[in-house]
């Protein structure tokens, strides 16, 4: 990996005080700019791709590492919880793809909207969700983000601008265009990131929504998280043209290395500027998932274990940031290991707390079917509980 470095205070300090870690802490929190080159250049379709050099800070790189380590630990813990039958139903894990979540968060604000499909645990975390809410929801408890009524595929966080969590493949894409429509309607200079997978890229509603977004210049950024497998079907077996960033035709596209958090950040920042001025853009994140499609899928019947371990060795997003941190001497091995241990501890604590969280009350079965006020509190479709009052 080619690195072009500026001489920073850390490099200077390294020669002076190798043993005093407190000075390094000062430099760890420094916000002086580090410029890193992405692993591969961006490829554009009908657009000039942004530069390969990404500006970042030590603080940001540390936060990348911390967040990705937490996400990775959360997903692995969810794996064991599922096998222990505490999580039921479908559980789609995001490990391997964490760079997309953290890179996107770094480029945008909480006022921008993100909407995604069912592989939503880590994006929920990135948008401000807590581990407790996450695990409680997975185990169907009251403290879950959706009060235990949504499940793995229905995480939402309104205050964080996270619009879910959708089970039907591709159905979130028109919703995402609706979010962008509302942003344009309200003129609030925010954008919507609509995430979908390589499997959903063949849905008709994607192209319908793309047409409308392009027609009305909606600030919608469609992000294809291409992990190369639509459940068990490889992309070349499902799509005539697996170049998903080109499939927008009249809509410009950008292909991004989705395992490089800095590349994702650069691309998202670029896309946000573009969308606010010119309308929709497609980002294809070239990424990979280590687990199978879901916990019911071993993940090895349609791909070899060598492939999975190969990607893990060469392209793992956390390893990449770890190498960056070590190379720039922002932290040493021990500190990074401590961060990972801390992440593990946080996850274990959250799981313990979530296990204590009670199951929802039986009356919760009927709450939130309708909004109170002009509607009715519904106990089955036909019985009227409360008569609505006219405004």
């Amino acid at each position: 990996m080619a690195l072009s470095t500026h001489r920073t205070t850390t490099a200077l300090l390294r020669h002076l005080t190798p043993a005093i870690s407190y000075l390094r802490h000062i430099s760890t929190d420094s916000t002086s700019t580090i410029t890193v080159e992405t692993s591969v250049p961006f490829t554009g379709h009908k657009i000039d791709p942004p530069s390969r050099s990404v500006d970042t800070t030590a603080q940001e790189l540390m936060s990348f590492f911390r967040d990705m380590a937490l996400m990775r630990r959360m997903e692995i813990a969810a794996d064991s919880l599922y096998k222990a039958k505490l999580i039921r139903g479908f559980c789609h894990l995001y490990d391997g793809q964490e760079a997309v979540a953290v890179g996107m968060e770094a480029a945008i604000t909480r006022k921008d909207c993100i909407i995604t499909a069912y592989r939503d645990h880590c994006i929920f975390l990135g948008r401000g969700g807590t581990l407790l809410e996450s695990f409680s929801e997975l185990m169907g408890r009251k403290d879950g983000c959706s009060k235990g009524k949504g499940g793995s595929m229905h995480f939402y966080k309104k205050e964080g601008g996270f619009y879910g969590g959708h089970g039907i493949v591709g159905a979130q894409i028109p919703l995402g265009c609706g979010l962008a429509f509302a942003q344009k309607y309200k003129n609030d200079e925010n954008v919507t990131f609509t995430l979908y997978g390589d499997g959903a890229a063949n849905q008709g509603q994607l192209f319908e929504a793309l047409n409308m977004a392009a027609l009305w210049d909606l600030p919608a950024i469609l992000v294809c998280e291409n992990n190369h497998y639509g459940m068990g079907t490889a992309e070349w077996r499902a799509a005539k043209s697996p170049a998903y960033y080109k499939r927008g035709d009249y809509v410009p596209g950008l292909k991004v290395d989705g395992m490089d958090a800095l590349a994702v950040k650069q691309a998202c920042r670029f896309a946000k500027e573009h969308a606010l001025k010119n309308g929709p853009i497609i980002l294809e994140m070239d990424t990979y998932r280590y687990h199978g499609h879901s916990m019911s899928d071993p993940g090895s019947t349609y791909r070899t274990r060598d492939e999975i371990s190969g990607v893990r060795q060469e392209r793992d997003p956390i390893e990449r940031v770890r190498k960056l941190l070590l190379a720039y001497d922002i932290a040493n091995e021990k500190e990074l290991k401590d961060i990972e241990k801390e992440a593990r501890k946080q996850v274990d604590e959250a799981i313990a707390k979530a296990k204590e969280s009670p199951l929802p009350e039986p009356s919760e079965l009927f709450t939130n079917v309708y909004v109170k006020g002009y509607g009715v509190e519904s106990f089955g479709a036909d019985r009227k509980e409360i008569r609505a009052a006219l405004p």
Binding site: G144, G150, P174, L175, G178, M212, T367, N368, G375, A381
Partner: protein, 404 residues
């Protein structure tokens, strides 16, 4: 009121399925008998003979149909109101809500520059601009989804299906996202969307353009369904649907758009979950909605002349049912006839029958009779199309059978 209904056939109903009541010769001879005993006195009181029926018909209602002028003036008071057609009433309601709340917007095919295929949104695009009255491409699934996404952020979109049948393409969005998002998000998002459009059997429009989707949508948890039938309730329900924080599907009927009525000048909003008492009565409760209301009122004229006193209720709220009003009526008359345009299988009438049976079984003197359309795709030929639907003659004979 405009007479949309077909003429009453004096001949027997077609020999279609068994759920229709054929005008049996026994029934007609009983009619003959009743007429012989029937003496109407000048004060409206009926001289009763030996027949059980006549004993009950103490007060013959001279006017079978409550005229709209009476009703409107009763509702309004001193102001005379203004006359308009049903689609204009819908537009008025829409315009008032768009004036009142800048978050209200309309999206659909040809709603903007064209003015709406049934002129419901005529003139609105010039007034509010292209973004608030949005002409969409022909992509029902996506623009319904777009409306739902916009509603999640707080806008109040009204999605128009050019014909309700086209919304079948948007079924996934309506069922999974529109209906369920409030629940699966634990109450975080509300979807204050209105989905409206004309449905029902028109004049020889063919099978695909004559669909009644209320039966398909009724199971979706989380949505409300209302059906308008007069200009008065069209405007009121439109306004109520827009103000409601729940997703509401407003069913209009292709053949009712040109109904002329006098509606109040002042602002009014109707209750979404309430049924409308069209004609109070004593003998039988007839539950209906949308266009069948007019077939029922036509049949009611005949029934009144024959000495029956039907109570006609326009249920208006298809989900949830107004079991309060319906229940009070059942407790009074003990007999129920449901007349609907839906298909027999799995229709609104089927659900309503189940609901009334469950809740008011002890009050029923006879099994509930449900007259619905035939379980066939609507044919193009005029006569066949007529036989697909419930006609007033069938309603009359059903009531007579029920009240035996």
């Amino acid at each position: 009121m405009a007479a949309i209904v077909q003429g009453i056939g004096s001949t027997a109903a077609p020999c279609a399925s068994s759920n229709k009541f054929l005008l049996s010769s026994l029934g007609s001879s009983l009619l003959e008998k009743k007429r012989n005993f029937f003496v109407v006195r000048s004060d409206g009181k009926c001289y009763t003979g030996l027949n059980q029926q006549q004993r009950r018909a103490q007060n013959v209602v001279t006017n079978a149909v409550a005229t709209k002028e009476e009703k409107a003036s009763a509702a309004v008071g001193s102001k005379p109101g203004h006359e308009l057609l049903l689609f204009e009433a819908l537009r008025e309601g829409l315009e008032e809500e768009m004036d009142r709340d800048p978050c209200v917007c309309v999206m659909g095919e040809d709603v903007g520059h064209y003015g709406g295929s049934y002129k419901v949104t005529k003139g609105l695009a010039e007034k509010y601009g292209d973004l608030r009255v949005l002409d969409t491409p022909i992509a029902e699934n996506s623009f319904t989804g777009m409306g739902i996404g916009a509603a999640m952020t707080g806008l109040r979109p009204i999605v128009e299906g050019m014909n309700m049948g086209f919304l079948l393409l948007a079924f996934n969005q309506i069922s999974n996202n529109c209906g369920m998002l409030h629940y699966t998000s634990g109450g975080q998002f509300k979807i204050p969307i209105v989905i409206r459009g004309p449905g029902g059997v028109g004049r020889q429009l063919g099978a695909e353009h004559s669909q009644r989707l209320e039966s398909y949508f009724q199971s979706i948890p989380g949505i409300q369904m209302v059906a308008c039938s007069t200009a008065y309730n069209a405007k009121g329900l439109m306004k109520a649907a827009i103000r409601s924080d729940n997703p509401v599907i407003l069913f209009e009927h292709v053949l009712l758009y040109n109904l002329k009525e006098r509606i109040p000048d002042e602002e009014y909003v109707l209750n979404l979950e309430e049924a409308e008492m069209v004609r109070p009565g004593e003998h039988v409760t007839i539950l209906t909605y949308s266009r069948m209301r007019y077939h029922v009122m036509q049949a009611a004229k005949t029934l009144v002349n024959n000495g029956y006193d039907p109570e006609v209720i326009d249920i208006r709220s298809l989900k949830p049912f107004d079991l309060y009003t319906i229940g009070n009526s059942v407790k009074k008359t003990h007999r129920v006839l449901i007349v609907e345009e839906c298909m027999r299988t799995g229709g609104i009438g089927a659900s309503l029958t189940a609901a009334i049976n469950e809740n008011f079984h002890d009050h029923l003197d006879a099994p509930i009779v449900c007259l619905s359309s035939q379980d066939v795709p609507t044919p193009y030929a005029g006569t066949l199309e007529e036989w697909t639907l419930v006609q007033p003659a069938q309603i009359v004979s059903a009531v007579e059978q029920l009240c035996l």
